[in-house]
């Protein structure tokens, strides 16, 4: 039941925050913070009690919902989702803290939306019923839309539309695929259900599998995002308020990656194997093209947004490598990218709060007045270019190694992304912190609150860089299960194919 409570707490907190917003501005912040801390602490307590991570679900909750269609409320937790939840709650707390001063209008409603998004994300990470999954998948869009559309920057409306329409369009394609899967499974077994575990063993022909998978892929690749489906991202990230950018980059994108791991790979083992080369190419294109665009930008947030495109390219590269190394890398990348890009967005937010511009050509020399911020900017720029000792390095290393195992060329091309990452990361530092300060700015260094946020993020990213083992241990059973699920099927398939061709040749002989 803890899983349902986790979501319910968030929802209750959301309503409370909204209502309390009418009373004063501090209360919703506090309520939101408390809500998230309660969730986080509860989860950590649970984590500490869990002795061993086996390949079974740690928690599995099932209820009926809409019986007529075989829809149930099915939540389950394994290592992968546990990690994602921890990240969600942690960054949720961070996003409340960074908005403490930034958001001064409609505070209650802001936090309502914030918690609603988080609830949606938590739901996505926990749902094991495809209908429920889609439900949450869409649910998080509306509050996110509000977050961008109400508290965003100048072009917020356009960006919010783009975000919503893009994700909605791709989501609907996934929806069609979910239904198709439902029918394929129902027609072959007679059991019409949306339950993930039951659908796992669905038999389908190769072409059907590819078609159905492409719908899922559309949704996940848009969320991830993968070039050429990435255009919503720069706009949304740029125009969103800091907390919004943070959640978008650090959490929302991860739902795409999570979806790939949780659904694409085990549900469509054969189709995903045949898609793998294209997937890897897309990943490489994403890495390089994202980096290229990031390098060209002058808007700081836009620049960071494009780096996300580039970093997420690694994720898809890893996912379609189908081996444990790459998968562990993907998991770390999800967390590390969340932290590092989130931190960069926070920095961009803090900068524009102080100097009211996001144009890096107008910045410069900020090191002088804000050395602490400079240090933080430095650390996370380095993280983003994959400096060893920070989490991103581990991630990229494992992904590239894993990819190297399955496709040397793609991995090597992806390595060029490392150089490209250097180009844009250093450009940030150069433009923002080097040079002479514009005298007009009244620039303060980070406040205690901001320092706390920054330091906690640094600790996490450095911890991931130097001691990522706990994460590996938690994620391992889940990832191995996914891989087994995948490999079993693909091997079976190749055997089947063999049998089939044998049969065919025999039949031919008898003719």
């Amino acid at each position: 039941m803890i899983l349902i409570y986790l979501i319910l707490i968030l929802l209750a907190g959301a309503l409370l925050a909204w209502i309390s917003g009418n009373l004063n501005h501090v209360l919703p912040r506090v309520i939101t913070l408390v809500t998230l801390i309660v969730d986080l602490v509860w989860l950590i307590i649970y984590l500490l009690q869990t002795v061993a991570f086996s390949n079974k679900w740690l928690i599995d909750v099932q209820h009926h919902w809409i019986l007529q269609f075989g829809i149930g409320v099915h939540f389950a937790l394994d290592g992968l989702s546990l990690l994602m939840l921890l990240l969600t709650f942690f960054l949720g707390i961070i996003s409340v803290l960074i908005s403490w001063k930034e958001i001064n209008s409609r505070v209650g409603f802001f936090h309502f939306n914030l918690l609603l998004i988080l609830a949606g994300i938590v739901g996505v990470f926990l749902s094991l019923d495809l209908f429920l999954f889609y439900f949450f998948w869409e649910l998080m869009l509306v509050p996110m839309y509000f977050l961008i559309g109400i508290w965003g920057h100048e072009n917020r409306t356009k960006a919010a539309y783009k975000f919503f329409l893009y994700t909605q369009a791709s989501g609907l394609l996934m929806f069609i695929s979910i239904l198709a899967l439902y029918f394929v499974h129902g027609n072959s077994t007679g059991i019409y259900t949306f339950d993930y575990i039951q659908l796992l063993g669905t038999h389908m022909s190769a072409s059907t599998g590819l078609l159905i998978m492409s719908g899922f892929l559309a949704a996940f690749l848009v969320k991830l995002p993968v070039v050429p489906l990435h255009n919503w991202l720069p706009d949304a990230h740029t125009e969103a308020p800091t907390a919004g950018s943070l959640i978008l980059a650090a959490l929302l994108l991860k739902t795409g990656a999570y979806g790939l791991l949780r659904f694409i790979v085990p549900l469509f083992p054969i189709a995903s194997s045949s898609f793998a080369p294209i997937g890897m190419i897309l990943g490489v294109i994403g890495i390089l093209y994202g980096a290229k665009l990031a390098f060209a930008q002058t808007d700081l947030k836009r620049l960071i947004a494009y780096t996300s495109v580039s970093h997420m390219g690694f994720v898809i590269l890893g996912v379609f490598s189908f081996n444990e190394l790459a998968y562990q890398g993907v998991v770390i990348q999800m967390i590390a990218h969340g932290i590092s890009t989130g931190a960069l967005f926070i920095m961009a937010g803090q900068l524009s709060e102080r100097i009211h511009t996001r144009d890096i050509n107008k910045m410069g020399g900020l090191w002088e007045k804000a050395p602490f911020m400079g240090a933080i900017g430095l650390i996370f720029s380095m993280a983003s270019l994959g400096l060893p000792g920070l989490g991103n390095f581990i991630a990229e290393l494992l992904i590239l190694l894993g990819a190297f195992k399955s496709n040397v060329l793609m991995s090597v091309l992806a390595c060029i992304g490392l150089i490209a990452a250097t180009l844009y990361s250093l450009r940030i530092l150069q433009k923002v912190f080097y040079g002479v300060k514009n005298t007009d700015w009244k620039m303060n260094d980070l406040s205690i609150r901001e320092k706390t946020i920054a330091v906690s993020l640094v600790i996490v990213i450095a911890g991931l860089g130097f001691y990522p083992q706990p994460v590996f241990n938690i994620a391992k059973p889940a990832l191995l299960k996914t891989l087994d699920e995948h490999n079993e099927k693909t091997q079976l398939n190749s055997e089947n194919l063999k049998v089939e061709t044998d049969l065919k040749s025999k039949l031919y002989f008898y003719k």
Partner: protein, 473 residues
């Protein structure tokens, strides 16, 4: 006429008696509240009477009537919608000058026409029902006769509706000539043994499509919709969008399934074409619309386009999906128009999106209702619209209507854009215009609508059960 006949006709009797009694009451003592109260009571009575009919169905009063579960279900939906419209009309009409009580009389006759369509099993009843409905609508649309727009809408609707009725009639005549019967069930029997439908019959069906397409506002017979919605009083617009369309849909489904239109290739293709066109045209027209009533009109065109997909599935489940869709569409539309009519004043109809700017910060609850309605129309989860669309797509896919489903998907996205436009303006910075205060009745209606949207969005199982149990053709 037996007792059972009378019993099964009781809702119609109530609906027919009510306007007569109102007329008599008016002639003695003209009082708005009394008339309103009586109207509400009558509708409630009609709804209650349905409970008593349940034991005797299916009951056929040959040749015109067929009172079965399907029709009772539709009548219930129609009556509840009419009730909600009456609630919304109370405030809207109260502020008008001059005579207002006749409105309720006409509302009753039109509701009677609509209910008759649900039980129609014969062209004569089909025709009479549709005419009773339509003729009453002319009057309702032009009811605010001091307004240019109301009169303009009235005359446009009158001319176009008459023409479409003429087409409908001509088509009926041709079908009658072909098979020698005007009864749906007889037609079904006649058709069952034919390999190929006679061309004259198809021609007749084609002509009937004009009439039905007009009433459902399907492309290319849709052009009246925005003008009429805009010109008509807001509650009447909601009435047209819901009751009128629902009733016509009820009879159309029955007719279409009786003649097994989905089995005929040319009818199939024409309906699919109309569906696809309706979706695209409706949604594309809406994307830049600044008038919210027109926007809802265009949205209704698109929604009907989605809905008629279900005709092509040719299955009972499809009908159930259609009914579920209609119910949610009714609730949502009434909610949206309800907000418009509650925010309208005597001087100013609240129809420009500009007037909704910042509504959320001034009247949060009203804005939330509107937001929920629009999200439901767009089919976003936790609203009823989502489940409805899901159901529709599910059945459509089951029947393998891929092209239609995909164009529905594309259009959902286009549609989302303009719903979001309205929502965005409600949530943007407030402007200074004053808004009327909303009466308790209006609030209750809107609360009901919102709760229904939420309940159906989160826990739709019971309604689906109910539909599966009762709404079988």
């Amino acid at each position: 006429m037996t007792e059972t006949d009378f019993l099964s006709l009781s809702p119609f009797l109530i609906l027919a008696l009510a306007p007569i009694i109102i007329m008599i009451v008016i002639s003695i003592y003209r009082n708005y509240e009394v008339v309103f109260g009586f109207s509400v009571l009558s509708i409630v009575a009609a709804i209650v009477s349905i409970v008593f009919i349940l034991p005797v169905i299916p009951h056929s009063i040959a040749p015109l009537f067929l009172v079965d579960r399907y029709s009772l279900f539709f009548i219930t939906i129609i009556l509840i919608s009419a009730l909600l419209v009456i609630f919304l009309s109370y405030d809207y009409l109260k502020q008008l000058d001059g005579i207002r009580e006749e409105y309720y009389i006409i509302l009753f006759t039109s509701t009677l026409g609509a209910s008759l369509l649900a039980v129609a099993n014969h062209f004569i009843l089909f025709f009479l029902g549709i005419e009773t409905l339509t003729l009453s609508l002319y009057i309702l649309i032009a009811f605010e006769k001091t307004k240019d727009s109301s009169i303009e809408a009235g005359i446009k609707y009158l001319v176009l509706a008459s023409v479409s009725s003429a087409f409908l009639l001509f088509g009926m005549g041709l079908i009658y000539i072909t098979f020698g019967s005007m009864q749906f069930s007889v037609l079904e029997i006649a058709i069952r043994h034919l390999n190929q439908l006679p061309l004259l019959f198809i021609f007749g069906v084609g002509m009937m499509l004009v009439g039905i397409g007009f009433k459902l506002a399907l492309v290319p017979f849709h052009m009246w919709t925005p003008d009429v919605y805009q010109g008509a009083p807001a509650p009447v617009s909601s009435y047209i969008a819901t009751v009128s369309k629902g009733a016509v849909m009820a009879v159309f489904i029955r007719f279409f399934f009786n003649i097994r239109g989905f089995d005929n290739q040319s009818i199939f293709i024409v309906i699919s074409g109309i569906a696809v066109l309706s979706m695209f045209v409706g949604n594309l027209l809406a994307i830049q619309q600044k008038n919210i009533k027109r926007l809802l009109a265009y949205s209704s065109i698109a929604n009907m386009g989605y809905l008629i997909i279900i005709l092509l599935t040719g299955s009972d489940k499809g009908i159930q999906a259609a009914i579920f869709y209609l119910i949610t569409y009714f609730i949502t539309t009434i909610g949206a128009f309800g907000v418009i009519s509650l925010l309208s004043t005597k001087e100013l109809e609240a129809e420009n999106i500009e007037e909704y700017r910042g509504l959320f910060w001034k009247k949060p609850w009203i804005a939330i209702v509107m937001t929920f309605c629009l999200l439901s129309l767009a089919g976003i989860p936790i609203t009823a619209g989502f489940i409805a669309k899901f159901y529709l797509i599910l059945e459509g896919m089951k029947a393998g209507l891929w092209i239609l489903i995909f164009s529905m998907i594309i259009n959902s996205v286009i549609g989302l854009y303009y719903y979001l436009r309205v929502i965005t303006s409600m949530f943007s910075v407030a402007n200074e215009n004053l808004l009327p205060s909303v009466s308790v009745l209006g609030k209750v209606t809107l609360a009901f609508v919102t709760i229904s949207i939420l309940v159906l969005g989160v826990y739709p199982g019971w309604l689906i059960d109910f539909i599966v149990k009762y709404a079988i053709l």
